[in-house]
Symmetry: C2
Subunit: 333 residues, 2 copies
């Protein structure tokens, strides 16, 4: 039986969804639902295509009670920059949770993924960072470096930003961008340890496959969110950092043990095993079922690998907004 499908392009999605508190709350609510136990979230389907220097990840999550569930396709084609194209790409499909029919297709080229990833950083900061953050540090200089600092600014008031990146020109460009965007003084630092030493909240945003952030400069009253690792083989943070942390919060333990910082820490013995009492999930902290930061001077780490629940949450919000605004092309099929 033919039915209407709403096809929404990236410009329309940029109009509908930004990095605001509504989006952060929407992602937080998703994690809370994930903790409730009724969400169904299968393992990521990940396909590497070595001859194309590419990979594609497919994520989904079903939340009983929601109108729909998203299937998110994220290709990464790492030769694209030489063609003048971004490496990351993709789309989301929203299916009816009642009939399985396609409700909407978001041709977002990865935009909604960028938003929900940054929003998860804000959620982690809200629940895990010290209440008082003077300085936010960021490791990496890409799009998520910028977005993670902006996201943090929605949940903490800070005065300074410390940046480190392998490419100092990119770090300086990011500094200028953030200065303009947030009217906050940015500092480009000579080494990751300098960023850690200065900051109470650090976000690592690199695709590193060997640690860029060591444990030498760890200090009390620090929260680190690592959002770069999302594949087996990626690793931003030295296992010694997790060894010294008072609390380790994963977006999803079963995913982080395969593709997050938890994976390398488990391999190196920085975390003894999944029964380590310091280990919990972000949803459990949000719901209050597990302790988050229990004092201002603790060292905490949040390991974000990116979850299907975030995709279903942001796709549901995007659908409501584009429908209300009448955006998109409706196609009958």
């Amino acid at each position: 039986m033919p039915h209407d499908i709403r096809i929404v392009t990236e410009p329309d999605l940029r109009n509908a969804i930004g990095l605001d508190l509504d989006v952060i709350d929407c992602i937080e609510h998703g994690f809370r639902q994930l903790d409730g136990g009724s969400v169904i979230m299968p393992p990521v389907l990940s396909m590497a295509m070595p001859d194309a220097h590419a990979e594609v990840d497919i994520k989904t999550a079903y939340v009983p009670g929601l109108e729909g569930f998203a299937i998110k396709v994220s290709p990464g084609f790492f030769n694209n920059p030489s063609l003048g194209l971004p490496s990351l790409n993709g789309l989301m499909v929203l299916l009816s949770a009642k009939t399985g029919q396609v409700l909407a297709i978001f041709l977002d080229n990865g935009y909604l993924t960028d938003m929900r990833t940054a929003a998860a950083g804000a959620v982690a900061a809200r629940h895990m960072a010290p209440e008082k953050v003077e300085t936010v540090g960021v490791i990496g200089t890409g799009l998520q470096a910028r977005l993670q600092v902006i996201a943090a600014s929605k949940v903490r008031s800070f005065k300074k930003i410390c940046i480190w990146g392998r490419d100092i020109e990119k770090a300086e460009r990011l500094a200028r961008d953030l200065e303009t965007e947030l009217s906050i003084e940015p500092f480009v630092m000579p080494a990751p340890d300098d960023v850690v030493a200065q900051s109470q909240l650090v976000v690592t945003t690199t695709p590193a496959t060997a640690p860029v952030l060591g444990s030498a400069a760890l200090h009390s009253g620090l929260h680190i969110t690592a959002m770069g690792s999302d594949q087996d083989g990626k690793n931003e943070i030295d296992p010694a950092v997790l060894a010294k942390a008072d609390r380790i919060v994963c977006d999803r333990i079963s995913q982080c043990e395969k593709m997050g910082e938890l994976r390398s820490a488990l391999a190196a013995g920085g975390v003894a095993g999944l029964e380590d009492p310091r280990l919990t999930e972000l949803g459990a902290v949000i719901s209050g079922r597990a302790a988050g930061r229990s004092s201002a001077d603790q060292i905490t780490v949040c390991d974000l690998t990116g979850t299907g629940i975030q995709d279903t949450a942001i796709a549901t919000l995007a659908h409501a907004r584009v429908r209300a605004g009448g955006a998109g092309t409706r196609i009958q099929s």
Copy 2:
């Protein structure tokens, strides 16, 4: 960077793709490529949603050298008939194998899946059925029952059709439909064994979770294609049938051992293990790397669970045809 995406609806896809020899050859070529070893085909992402009496399967396969690769989303919502909707549904997304950008979206509501599934039956019949088939038997009365008989008619000339289904009215309706479509005399049989006894080629097309086809009526010069099982828990054929078969051909052994007839036969000891010398893959038979039927009087079985390579193969053909015909809506995003 904005690029054009072709959105194609089910009616346009029905115009572009039918159950003809080109489509059967296209699927055969896909299986041959799968045997070549360079195809990347990850395990199916399968999500069950028990509270909605529903499931969704996501399949993909990457074939080096092709312009694109498909990601196929197949929802099954089994309460849909009570809403006047078909249970099966879905869409395919074709991504560029060079850049990962979305090339086309096929809003096919499962139509391309129906075609590639039936075409795989024809490929199995072409390579495994006896050369002389007087009678084709079909177990089940749904859409695939009809399509599998039509597909068989493209690769074997037969004079009679024997049908068995739990619902005799549906069996009689299918008989009338096939009589009209193929101008061949159909017989509705009282039991599955009667179908087997009369036929040289039998296709089972049910969603059964306990065997509907036993071994009592097995006879020399018989090929059985079982295409109903595509989930852990489904089982159409008694393990004794596989125990007695001379040759067992899977679309993909690694998939059939989890969700095909091979699964239940392994569990019951009908097949001792994956090193059973009777066991091979359809692509290996097509390429000539492994033997198929080696004499007219053998009993052979083909276990089809449905593979991502079929989706990439038919999506590639569909894309070429709709592009040539100028079909679809082009959206820039």
